[in-house]
Point group: C2
Chain length 488, copies 2
């Protein structure tokens, strides 16, 4: 039988499926790996085990691939594996693609009926010795941190009631608790949400279910030292639209933005909901509790960022209206209003935010993001849209940016901050970032390492992959290689 990938944007050029699973010892290094940079940079993103059953597909519907760059004594090794989800196993046995539209099981091949169809393709987080590959429409899959072999679906000790778990859990830097949530927690297009707290030992400590104001696409959320913040944007769905074979999400700006805030030491019954006109929401940089004020630093756009989510009012995808900008939302818990204030912190086309994660949930000063700088060349060849052409450090106190343009025919992905040493000051360390080379003479992938405080100076070192690596979505650093399946 023939087996062909389609000649569409998701499957050609830089995005052509790579699909190999394996290891590379000693990647090429230009420059010097900083001494003390010891650990693993894990990343997760989609690739495609089989051509799409429906003739084409969106990148977010690909099979989860986890990769690791391992830094050991100045050498860098690489490994990459597909996550063996139930969906992967079913297609492997069938010898062909079974999945239909993104998060619409009514479009699947009957052979996939009743099976877990989550893809574990969005983020990878090491917590309590478990390496978890995550996608928000299902439960995480646990992988061996060394071999990247799939150990199985993770329900934190069999106690989770929610059918979903976010790809953006927050780890409290002091307690090492992992706080997560689920939406459509009671099943497809369901209004139930769940709040989960996983102890530092990896065992579920607490789970509470509650009803969302409406079914909403909630890719991220926020946790502060004292509060938990849920943010709903008006991308919504219903069983009816799914049964009709439509896309999971439709963006309906007639619905409001809803922000639910609850105390960490309280319960979901304490949730207080704030409202604003319908907008597109992106990732959360961080959030802070300050007396009776909660500040949420979040990317906001007029319309939804994703071209694959149609507008309910029939409007086409409008890049300008979909431009994400970093905004600060201030919620006054002492006031009687359900409104909140917004301040746009930077006017730039910016996203993929990271912090010094020792300051996640806490007062912080620095962030690192990807920017599309219109003053610089923007690589589009072979990408699924204009590429991020600049890395930026944002100084939230000084409202200042430092920038590094990634160069001609290149694009960057989500950066990763690594502290220089355990007690280093906030932001004192390295910034790791995958670059996509889109030169006319060929595609390539390299990991650059910058001084996180001096990114304008450009990379200290470049780690070159000998093969093109498809773009990942999110990733995380683990301070030391984890021997024998346990985190260091």
């Amino acid at each position: 039988m023939s087996l062909r990938f389609p000649d569409t944007a998701t499957f050609t050029g830089f995005n052509a499926p790579v699909r190999i699973e394996g290891e590379i010892r000693d990647l090429e290094v230009e420059g010097e790996i900083p001494s003390g940079l010891e650990g693993s940079f894990y990343r997760c993103g989609p690739d495609f085990r089989f051509p799409p059953r429906l003739g084409d597909d969106i990148n977010h519907n690909g099979d989860g691939v986890v990769s690791a760059f391992r830094f050991e004594g100045g050498r860098v090794h690489f490994a990459m594996r597909f996550v063996r989800t139930e969906k992967y196993a079913a297609e492997d046995a069938a010898g062909r693609g079974l999945i239909g539209l993104y998060r619409n099981p009514f479009t699947d091949d009957p052979l996939l009926a009743g099976r877990d169809r989550t893809l574990a393709n969005t983020n990878v987080v090491l917590h309590a010795g478990r390496l978890l590959a995550m996608k928000e429409d299902g439960l995480p899959y646990a992988l061996d941190p060394v071999t990247l072999d799939t150990l199985g679906r993770c329900d934190f000790g069999g106690r989770l009631q929610s059918q979903t778990f976010t790809a953006h859990p927050k780890i409290d830097p002091e307690t090492q608790e992992m706080i997560g949530f689920g939406y459509e927690a009671d099943g497809l297009a369901g209004r139930q949400m769940a709040l989960q707290v996983i102890g530092a030992d990896g065992v579920l400590v607490r789970e509470e279910m509650f009803e969302a104001p409406y079914v909403s696409f909630q890719h991220d959320f926020a946790v502060t030292e004292r509060h938990i913040v849920f943010a709903l944007m008006p991308a919504t769905t219903s069983l009816e639209r799914l049964k009709a074979g439509q896309t999971h999400w439709v963006f309906d700006p007639s619905l409001p933005v809803k922000v639910g805030i609850m105390p960490r030491d309280g319960s979901v019954t304490d949730l207080r909901w704030f409202s604003a006109p319908g907008r597109g929401l992106g990732h959360v940089l961080n959030a802070v509790s300050d007396g009776e004020e909660v500040r949420l630093d979040i990317f906001v756009s007029e319309r939804c960022q994703f071209p694959f989510i149609p507008n309910a009012d029939g409007a086409g995808f409008d890049r300008a209206a979909s431009t994400p900008r970093l905004a600060r939302w201030r919620f006054d818990l002492s006031a009687n209003s359900d409104g909140f204030e917004e301040e746009v912190l930077f006017p730039d086309f910016m996203e993929m935010p990271r912090t010094d994660d020792r300051y996640q949930t806490r007062p912080y000063r620095y962030g690192w993001c990807a920017v599309i700088d219109p003053q610089r060349p923007i690589a589009t060849a072979g990408t699924l849209g204009p590429g991020w052409n600049t890395l930026v450090r944002v100084d939230m106190a000084a409202r200042r940016q430092d920038r590094w343009w990634v160069g001609e025919n290149a694009a960057c992905q989500e950066p990763q901050f690594v502290p220089r040493r355990p007690g280093a000051a906030e932001g004192d360390g390295w910034l790791l970032c995958m670059l996509t080379r889109l030169a006319p003479q060929g595609y390539g992938s390299e990991l650059v390492i910058l001084d996180a405080e001096r990114i304008a100076e450009g990379p200290i070192a470049r780690v070159r992959a000998p093969i093109r690596l498809r773009g990942a979505i999110h990733g995380n650093w683990a301070p030391r290689p984890a021997p024998e399946g346990k985190a260091a």
Copy 2:
């Protein structure tokens, strides 16, 4: 520490190190895999674990990589692994390249002193359930036929005295005996040769040592139903030149070609040596005993084929003089002469010969080779020289050729014949061949499958690798995937 490959022909363009070890499930297939094509196509070639210690290197000095295309029920899977030689392990531990010049240990890093420095990078042969990766300057390494993991150096039961074993052993299609030989069998630049016979059970049956007329580069040899044929060309070496840090081989056409013929049921003491003026010798297509005549079908050139072997008379590399042509040498064992007759069978620039291996050592009619057809475009971009642009079937009885041009910006490697079924007539089956795509928009690799009797019609199917695969040197087909380390 920095780790960079040089910007030289061996390490750039299509030849840039690939280095990844791993698996790909379900390669893309254009067309249909013929039903009945079930088995593994194993290939072996060089890649580079580390940048060369001396700043540059030749491709033949790279680390052995074995790959397998597995055909199962119309699906094709892929695996690739470095062979874990002693040299590989020593460099892996050191974190850098230790080897010096091709087959000159006097140019190695002292850390490699006393270690086996063979590279297992030339051919891979499945015999008696052992998958053997071979290079003629050392012993083979045995691999697991399924995982391609290295099991260890193979000395056929610990009984081998020779320090070397050819990369071109011959397997008798009736007895399944494997006949091999070694040169420099007593060590570097040594004149001793060895003849080895390995039983169908993989155990050494017979080994005899003898002195060669001179130390000669003997990449191939020949076996017939009744005779064994050694062919020496005047590429020679000495301990002195190696100690002086020179290349292993120097081509000295003042030395003669020597051909030694002995009866398979006799002994090396029965060797009868024939002589001719110094020439370059290439691979053997096949050889036949016919009464008192032995016919050797071998590729012959005026000078040595390899640009990296200098001429003793100081002449530069001359492509025309180094053109290999298929010749038939006839040795009359009943005559009293040490001469023999030569007939050039085809005038073309031809090499990389294969037969229907059920007819190896036996009377045969067909061969399949690679040709450089000057009437067609010749791809050179990123290759280590002009690429083979045409596959040919030679009909030795009709002295006729059938050809298939591999297409624009493409080059082919050594072909592989696979019989259609166990009892099929000679040449009735498929021809497998790796193509290198050298298109301006990027490099690629694909395996084409042709009807071996009708190659002019072009491929029945094309199996596409999602990553560029460096060129292999030789390979072999194994009829069925070998479960649990045993040959089918």
